[in-house]
Symmetry: C2
């Protein structure tokens, strides 16, 4: 007997018929002798509908009330899926964030899980019932409802699986697994059968939207095997797991592309110690995470000055753009320049650690297509290049096939 956690996203519970499918799948798993916990998202479109109402009422709605509002979406799904299971002759119990007690901090709209009480879930399972848990939500020390941010139901699922020491956490979604790159961009993209947490983490943070970043971090920390698969068939998907020998044999596992960032250049900043620290300190104070940073001393510009370039999400840019001019002046710069027409393409693979020359091969492949590289950043298992947005799809295809990912 295994303990199986199954998470169903908004599309998988998007209609009453689909909820019946979810119920059928959970019951089929239970019929194999397993204990089953399911985590559900809000019906697709529901969260947006609710947030739209809030924004119509208040241009800057309070985060606490946004969470109380948005959490109803998952509550509705959980109750309805529990009813669907009962209608098929099974036993089920919906459990909300405050009922399980998924304790979070009080950072509304982007709370982090601090602890999960497994008592009520275990009681429910011991009775032979399926526990149907509302994803995305938790409760802070004071009992306020919190939410975990977009894609938060993945995090709920993996965290619950970790708390219960589940045998597997199945993430049901509308794609059938993790791909070597976006199949819409690159027709030769292939489904990956096994991938390490580390690689998945890089792919998730680089814009492959299959799994929420934080859920992968938790899965890695607690070594929860995560199986990403489709709710529309029984085909196996992608197993995200600890690295093993077989994984290391491949140099590059996947190619990711992120068009959600913008590039900012602060012009002619005095080339003195402490200036850059002040600049990024000011951004950090405004809670703006910066991704790539490039400081290139400018020989053609003013003497003793340098341009500081960095990338940040377009959402954050919209929030702070009005302050950039002031910020530039504050650090002695001569203004700023923004480029939103950029893309970050990345190659990811555990094998990079032991294979030399992977980065060089990447630059070569891009150069062959005359794609100019504006910035580079690397980690142990990843190389990212900033390029003009119009070359993004071309770059993905070139890298994907250049590293032999399309071959079977």
């Amino acid at each position: 007997m295994a303990l199986v956690v199954q998470k169903f996203g908004g599309t998988s519970v998007g209609s009453l018929d689909r909820m019946r499918n979810v119920a059928g799948r959970a019951l089929a798993t239970q019929a194999l002798g397993h204990q089953v916990v399911i985590i559900v998202s809000a019906m697709s479109g529901e969260t947006n509908r609710l947030l739209k109402l809030a924004h119509e009422l208040a241009p800057v709605p309070s985060a606490r009330e946004m969470d109380a509002l948005a959490a109803t979406g998952e509550q509705v799904s959980a109750a309805l899926v529990a009813l669907a299971i009962e209608a098929q002759g099974g036993q089920a119990r919906s459990l909300l964030g405050h009922q399980v007690r998924i304790l979070t901090d009080d950072a509304f709209t982007k709370a982090r899980i601090k602890a999960i009480d497994d008592r009520r879930i275990r009681e429910t399972l011991a009775r032979g019932s399926i526990a149907v848990i509302a994803g995305f939500q938790g409760v802070d020390e004071e009992g306020n409802i919190t939410t975990l941010g977009r894609g938060g139901s993945d995090t709920t699922a993996v965290a619950i699986a970790a708390a219960l020491q589940a045998d597997v956490c199945e993430i049901y979604t509308d794609v059938d697994g993790v791909y070597t790159t976006d199949p819409n961009v690159c027709p030769s993209a292939r489904k990956i059968d096994r991938i390490s947490y580390e690689e998945m983490l890089e792919l998730a943070s680089l814009g492959a939207k299959v799994l929420q970043l934080r859920s992968v971090e938790i899965a890695m920390k607690y070594e929860v095997p995560v199986h990403v698969r489709t709710s529309f068939s029984d085909a196996p998907g992608t197993l995200v797991t600890k690295e093993d020998r077989s994984l290391e044999e491949v140099t590059v596992t996947g190619v990711a592309c992120d068009k959600n960032e913008a590039k900012v250049q602060i012009l002619e900043v005095p080339d003195r110690p402490g200036v850059v620290a002040r600049l990024f300190g000011a951004l950090a104070a405004r809670h703006v995470p910066v991704d790539m940073i490039i400081q290139n001393t400018s020989y053609t510009g003013a003497l003793g000055a340098t341009d500081v370039t960095f990338t940040l999400s377009k959402t954050d840019l919209a929030r702070v753009e009005a302050e950039l001019e002031g910020l530039a002046r504050e650090v002695g710069g001569q203004g700023y320049r923004v480029d939103s027409e950029i893309a970050k393409v990345s190659i990811v693979g555990l094998g990079m650690r032991s294979h030399a020359g992977v980065a060089a091969r990447m630059f070569e492949l891009l150069a062959q297509e005359n794609i100019n590289i504006q910035a580079i950043s690397t980690s142990e298992i990843k190389v990212s290049c900033l390029i003009a947005a119009r070359y993004a799809e071309l770059a993905v295809r070139v890298l994907h096939d250049g590293f032999g990912l399309g071959a079977t």
Copy 2:
């Protein structure tokens, strides 16, 4: 400085614009120097929409899941109204049943309030915020979400007002107060300015749908002044309060009419001690509340036998009708007869206790219109007559004007 509890029904929060009105009203009350607690229902239509989904999934949905589902309606309203208050520059906090801690029993879909913790509400008020409480919902000892049944938000409001020892509980609705009778039936119906709890209780239980019965019981028990008024204007409505001298001067306060009952006659029951007790004991065992009971010895029928007549709600009749024949035989009767085409008209007034002849005047007024009285029941402050349903409106008008209720 007073503490004011304001309850807004589904129509009053039926759109974002109406929520803005609710916010404006609460803020205006606060601006007068008062502390304000508001209780909100689900947006009109929302509860039915949710329950319909549940019934599509499961013909007999589990009551626990129905409550988890339905409670989201009030949660959405509470969060949105809190946002509307903030958008107008005020401070507000939504509080759900489990957050206030409105403790109920575990009778899902019709739970009763056992205790209310006033700590979080008082903290919210102490901060200068308006507390926006989701009506209709509570939580049982185990943390399961419960609901209080249709109209339950009235009960939430009065119970919260009692717990806080509020100065007044204002019930905002789509009518502008309690009327001497239904204005749709009787054009001369007048709004009542003041009415006693006892009278309101009789009117509420007799089918005047302005206030939920249980909320009036709680208001009476804890002496909470209840002000029933419209959310569409500032006009004062009806104050439901302890009886005082001025209330007693009026003989009859209102005329009510209830068409939701049916009449059952059990025929030729042996006229022996204990028989009637067995009959109504059997109905009580089936949880069927019986309203009027008339035992009239029949001189024209079988010797030593009597017909037993009683009324019950049409809903309950549908539930037990199949058993009536067996029940009649069980007590030695000769079968049964049902009449659903009946109406109960009632006059209610504190003054009846000190004024003789009120009942006689009622019978006289009905007789003048040739309306036959099928049964009569009385209490200290009420006389009810059972008549054929087709005379109901006529009877209401005759009684209303005959007792001078239309005069100003």
